[in-house]
Structure formats: C-alpha cells, structure tokens
C-alpha cells in the first residue's frame, strides 16, 4: 500500500490566504505524533476561491479540502490523516461523491497547468515522475532534427499566449533561419495585465515545465543562452525558478553537452524587472535586460533577426513554453484536437472581479464565454446581475451580456472589439459603472506609457481628463465624439501595442454602453450608482431609529444626531464612502 500523501497548496495565492499556518500546523502534528505520511508543498490548482487547500491522497482516492484554517486542519489530522475518515462537509473535490463545486472542473483540459497543484514544484524528481524532461530526452535520444521539432510546433497550431497570438512554430522558424553563433531564448514572465495571474501560477507551480520548454526551443533554433525576465513582484516564482535551475544544472538538463549531446550547450538565468508594465513588450523587455529604460523601439528588425545585444532572439510567453514539452512528447495531434480552426489547443484564464469562483481555469479554445463565467465560474457574486466582462486587460475591451455566447478564439473575440489578450477575465456586475471602469483602465495605461510617442503620452492624458470629468458630473456635449477622435489618433500614431490598444476599453464601452456615457453627461446621473461624485447619501427619516451606528462609523464625522433621534448627513463633508449605507441595519440610508 502506498503511503498517504498530504498536499498543501502553497503558491502565493494559497500563502496569502493562510496556507503557511495550515502547513505548519500539520507539520507540527506529524512530528509530535510521529506519523508516517508524505507532506508536500504544491502549487495552485486553480481554486483560489477555496484557498487554503489541503489534498489527501490515499489508496488512489483523492479528497481536496477547501477553506481550511488551523482549526479545521487539526480536525482533518485527527479524523482523516489518523483514522482515514474523510470529513465530507469540508471536501470540495473528489471522485467519490458530488460536491457543490464540481461544475468548476467540467470542461477543463489541463495541458499548460498539467502539474500545477499536483507536484512539488521544488522537486525535480516529482516533475520527472510526470514525464518531466522526457520530451527533451526523446528529441535527443531519437535524434529528431531541429526542423522536425519546429514542424511539430507549427502543426500543433500553438499560438503565443502572451497576447499577440502569433504562431509559435513560425516564430521559431524565423529565428532558426537567422544564422549566428549566439542566439538567445527569452521567456517573457513580466505578466503585468491587471487581473492576470496565469504565468505566476505556472512559474510557482511547475517551473521545470518552463525550463524544459525553453530548452526545446534552444535545441530547435540553436539557442545558446536563455533569460527569464520575471516581474520582481513575484518573489516566490523567482525563488522556485532558481531552485529549479540549480536542480536542472545538477542533473545535466542545462549546461554543457546537455543530456550527453555533444555541442548542445544551453543555460538560463533569471532577470528581475522593476515594476514597469511596458517592459512586457518584447523590445522594451530586451532594453530592460540590457540595463536601459524599458522603452519599445520600432520593428523591424524583429527580435528573430536582431534582438538581445543585436543577436537573433526568440521570445515567448511562460504559458507558451509550458505547453511545448507536452506537444513534443504526445505529438502535435494531442494538442490540435482541441480548439477551433484557427485557435488550437487550450487557454488558461484568470477569473476575477465579481465572480463567485475567482481562480484559474484551463479550457479548450471554442468554449463560450458564457460557459466559462456561469458554469465554471459559478456566476456572479451575491446574486447580482452580470453586466460585462473585460478581456485582454487594459489593451482589451468589454464584452457585454448579449454577446456572451461568443466563443473564446482569437478571431471571435477580436470581432467584438475586445482581444483575447493574455487571459485575464475581469467580471463586472450591475453595480459597476462602465464609464468609471474605462477611466480606470485608461488611468493604468496613461501611467504606464513610456512617454516616447506624443499621442500615447499626451493623448491618453487628455482622454483620462475627459473621462474623469464625465464621472464627476462635469461632462460636456461633444465629449463622446472627442474621445472617439482621440482614440483613433492614439491608435494610429503609437509605436507599440500599449498605445495602439490603450483606447480599446473606452471604445468598447462607448460601443456597448453609450447610454451610460449619455446619462452621465446629459442628466449628471450614474445609472450603476458607481460614480461617487454623482451620488448622494441621505437619511430616510421614518426608517432611522437613531441607533448612531452610521455616525460612529463615518470616517469624516459627516453624520450628526442624538441617540434615538433622527440623524442627518452633512452633504458638504460627506466623502460618499458608503460606509453608513452598508452599516445601517434599518435600510435608513438612501442612495440616489
């Protein structure tokens, strides 16, 4: 009989939710009671909404426990670990009986995330037991040619997961065709899109998959050195990458004459960013590696011809690389059986915002947005009404309710005015003001613009001023048209993707929610009750019991009134924080 295995989800998300305490508790109990079971730290399995997570595997049966704190950990230890008696009510996933979260898994296909939450990311042997490094071994053992490897990637239909969606195999082919003694392989781990955490999850949960993917790319194009450019905001990812790199070097998967193949030399190091969204753009990223400001430059020349230190360079996203070993090992067909005609395989999405099940899902291309949000994502929090979903972060756009039968594939999403982007899905409900939302994303791009192009630098600022004005009730006739005009100019006159896509959130909200813009401008009203400056909080006299709760909680002391007397809000002082509205038990605060 195999030893019982206890896995604790210890990616950043799990730790943020309190997984370290749970781990420490179970570890201490294990030590003090001298029990023999395997205790493993693993990555994120995607159920961020149920973290901290503890999985127990015994006799081939798995029980995943959710929302575990120290107290529940003790119970699980006493009952399940010691006596093999599962505690049914805490289980969120098992094959043995139904749970209320089962629909989260229906329709998911895990390729890029195949090992996340399953293996110990700090153990190379764990990765090896899941076929890890077998893809590169297969290439080297069977002497598969560089051209064949590239062809497999082309045939798989894999497109870049960093947002652009360019054919990965074709990109490799360009880099292969450019002759040079030195070629670089870069992994773009600068994941900066608001609401995206797919790459973090892969790096923290399965770093070796990225290293193997990069090594295969190096073999295919003749790469001599690799760099992983990772956001410095991801300390755990960086630590785990460095652990994985040391292990891979020790085992001969990186370094000189890899796996005994004479002349195949390739090593990788991690380079940290320093907080600049624009560094995710490939030419800015390379400038940043070179120790410069992260400012994009004109293409061509493309990196495949002249990239890092002017050498041919192939740059791919984390998720792109994570798919590669599986494609090589299982064949292009294993990947391209999923998806639509032009968008093959699976895509990881990060579900965030007003959704019930915030977390990570990997689904075949072609599934509808509706299914992702309502079936897997479990619908909207607090039974509110769904309004729209933002795809592609600040470069993307919103997809309104009537278009949620759109399927996820590059072309279908683009047709709505949004973009597939890197995989963030920010869900908004009826209480989200779409003008304010557009303002929010534009505020982001405006701050993150590198400043090189006038239209991107100043145009976004003008747009932001107009949007701010509208949300504050100072909108003017002609503002919508002015926003549209500026959008066109910024799109046409910006050098890189940041500026070229910055107006998208504004354009799509104007397209689908023009009435909201008009209500702000003409009637000075925010239909979603989202814009603070347009709200007033007042006390409903016949409901107020004089309980004083509102007055006590108001951060700016805007509420006056004696106990058991009607209270009054001073509109001059009120900062419209809504605290009184939420605190009042008698619904005596009215919002209008």
């Amino acid at each position: 009989m195999e030893k019982m295995k206890v896995l604790i989800g210890m990616a950043s998300c799990g730790i943020a939710a309190g997984a370290s305490k749970v781990y420490d508790k179970i570890y201490a109990l294990k030590e003090s009671e001298k029990l023999d079971f395997e205790l493993v730290k693993t990555g994120c399995i995607g159920m961020c909404f149920r973290e901290p997570l503890v999985e127990i595997i015994e006799d081939g049966n798995s029980f995943l426990y959710g929302e575990i704190d120290e107290k529940k950990a003790v119970e699980i230890f006493e009952k399940h670990i010691k006596l093999s008696e599962p505690i049914k009510e805490y289980v969120v996933k098992t094959d043995l009986f139904e749970t209320k979260d089962d629909t989260f898994w229906k329709g998911q296909v895990k390729i890029a995330l195949r090992n996340c939450g399953v293996i110990d990311p700090e153990s190379i042997s764990d990765y090896e037991t899941q076929n890890g490094y077998n893809a590169i071994k297969k290439i080297l053992n069977e002497n598969i040619s560089q051209e064949t490897v590239i062809q497999s990637i082309i045939d798989s239909g894999l497109r870049g997961r960093g947002g652009g969606g360019f054919s990965t195999g074709m990109k490799w082919k360009f880099a292969f065709n450019n002759k040079s003694d030195e070629k670089y392989i870069i992994c773009n781990a600068d994941e900066g899109d608001p609401g995206a955490f797919m790459d973090r999850s892969v790096l923290e949960g399965d770093p070796h998959a990225v290293l193997e993917g990069m090594t295969i790319a190096a073999y295919a194009i003749g790469g001599t050195e690799g760099v992983i450019y990772c956001r410095a905001e991801y300390p755990l990812a960086i630590i785990r990458l460095n652990i994985a790199l040391a292990q891979a070097r020790e085992k001969g998967y990186l370094g000189k004459n890899i796996y005994g193949k004479q002349g195949f030399n390739f090593d990788i190091h991690v380079k940290e960013g320093a907080g600049a969204f624009v560094c995710g753009e490939e030419t800015a990223l390379m400038a940043s590696i070179e120790g410069e400001r992260g400012m994009p430059r004109r293409r061509p020349p493309f990196p495949a011809a002249s990239g890092l230190w002017k050498k041919p360079t192939n740059i791919n996203n984390v998720e792109t690389f994570a798919n590669v070993p599986s494609i090589i090992l299982n064949g292009a067909n294993s990947y391209n059986i999923y998806g639509t005609e032009k968008s093959k395989g699976t895509k990881v999405f990060a579900l965030t915002g007003k959704i019930n099940r915030g977390g990570l899902v990997e689904v075949p291309m072609g599934i509808t947005i509706n299914d992702v949000i309502f079936k897997l994502g479990g619908g909207i929090q607090d039974n509110k009404k769904f309004k729209a979903v933002q795809l592609g972060g600040p470069s993307g756009g919103c997809i309104p309710e009537h278009l949620t039968d759109t399927i996820v594939d590059y072309d279908s999403v683009t047709a709505t005015g949004a973009i597939m982007g890197s995989g963030g899905m920010v869900v908004m409900d009826e209480t989200t003001c779409m003008v304010d939302m557009a303002r929010f994303f534009l505020d982001f791009t405006q701050k993150e613009s590198c400043g090189k192009c006038t239209f991107c630098r100043i145009g976004t600022k003008r747009m932001l001023e107009i949007l701010t004005r509208i949300t504050e009730g100072e909108g003017r006739e002609g503002d919508i048209e002015m926003l549209e005009e500026l959008s066109v100019q910024i799109k046409d006159n910006s050098l890189c993707g940041l500026g070229q896509t910055a107006p998208n959130p504004v354009l799509t909200t104007i397209k689908y929610f023009r009435n909201e813009y008009e209500a702000h401008i003409h009637s000075k009203k925010c239909p979603a009750h989202g814009c603070k400056k347009l709200l007033t909080y007042t006390v409903v006299e016949d409901k107020c019991t004089g309980c004083t709760v509102c007055a006590k909680n108001c951060p700016v002391n805007a509420i006056t009134g004696e106990r058991k007397q009607k209270h009054l809000i001073n509109q001059e002082t009120c900062i419209k924080c809504g605290v009184c509205f939420n605190k009042c038990k008698f619904e005596a605060i009215k919002l209008s």
Binding site: C48, R200, G273, A274, G275, W309, G353, C450
Partner: protein, 177 residues
Amino acid sequence: MNIEQKIIFSEQTLALVSKIVSHYPEGKQKSALLPVLHIAQAEFGGWLSVPVMDYVASILNILPIEVYEVATFYSMYNTKPVGNCVIEVCRTGPCWLCGAEEIIMHLENKLKIKAGETTSDGKFTIKLVECLADCGNAPVIQVGWDYHGNMTKEKIDELITDFDKNNKVSHKNPYEI
C-alpha cells in the same frame, strides 16, 4: 538610512554583484544595473539616494546619469525616503472591484497619512501598486515578500499591530537566497 552609514557594499555583496555581472557578455556590465539597484535599495534603507546611485554607477563603470535614468523609470525604485515597512496596496481593476478603495482609506485613516506618504516616526509607508496577480483573493496587499489576501479592515488592524510591535522591515535583498 543612517546618515553616518558609509555607502559601500560588503565584500559579500560585491561578490554577488560580480556574479550577476558575469551573466552578461564582456562589456555589457550595464545589464546588471537593475539587479544591482534592487540590492542597493535593500541595503541602503529601502530607497535610492543620489550618493547611492552614484556609487552604483561607479561599481558598474557607467555614468551616473545612466543610473538616474533607469531609477526614475521603474516604479519599484524609490527615489525618496520610505518607511521601514512599505505596505503595497494593489489598486488595479479586480482589487478595485472588490473593495481596494476602502482598504486604502482605512489604512490612510489608521496611519494618518495619505497613500504615497510615510508616517512621521518613519515606520510605515503606504504605496499604491499595480496588479499583484492574486486577484482570486482580492483585495490584496504585499509587504516585502509576503502577500496578504482577502483584506478586511480587521485584518489590516491585526497586521499593523503586528508590524508595529515587531518593527517590521519590508526591504530585503532579493538575491540573498
């Protein structure tokens, strides 16, 4: 930073810097600038003063202006003094939808400073940052290397009390693994 503190890396740190420089081709030592600035910031009190930047320029054999240019471009480098414990609050879309504004306001009220400012005792700084990529647990804050998710006012109170008691210092050399 203690004014008296000499701006000079320890032997150990200098060895680390040489190792980082060795990752790059001959003559491309400027490529080590970002990592070395991270290290300098951690070692000299959480921010980059002009003398510190000049020192970095001297050890990488580049012009001071090349360092200023980079230090002022990236948001993680602080070019003004910060508190011992920098509380980074995610202000991006998903956290905003889930109540980040209230968290920010509560922190501001509690520490009696505005976002971007430092308390007069030099203990805390509130810094607003972009997506920390833990949106499943929004609203989220980051303190040093630690993420804290599902923030509520009560949790903020607990954390601040804890940091205050332990004189928490959030900056840490990222290459000291």
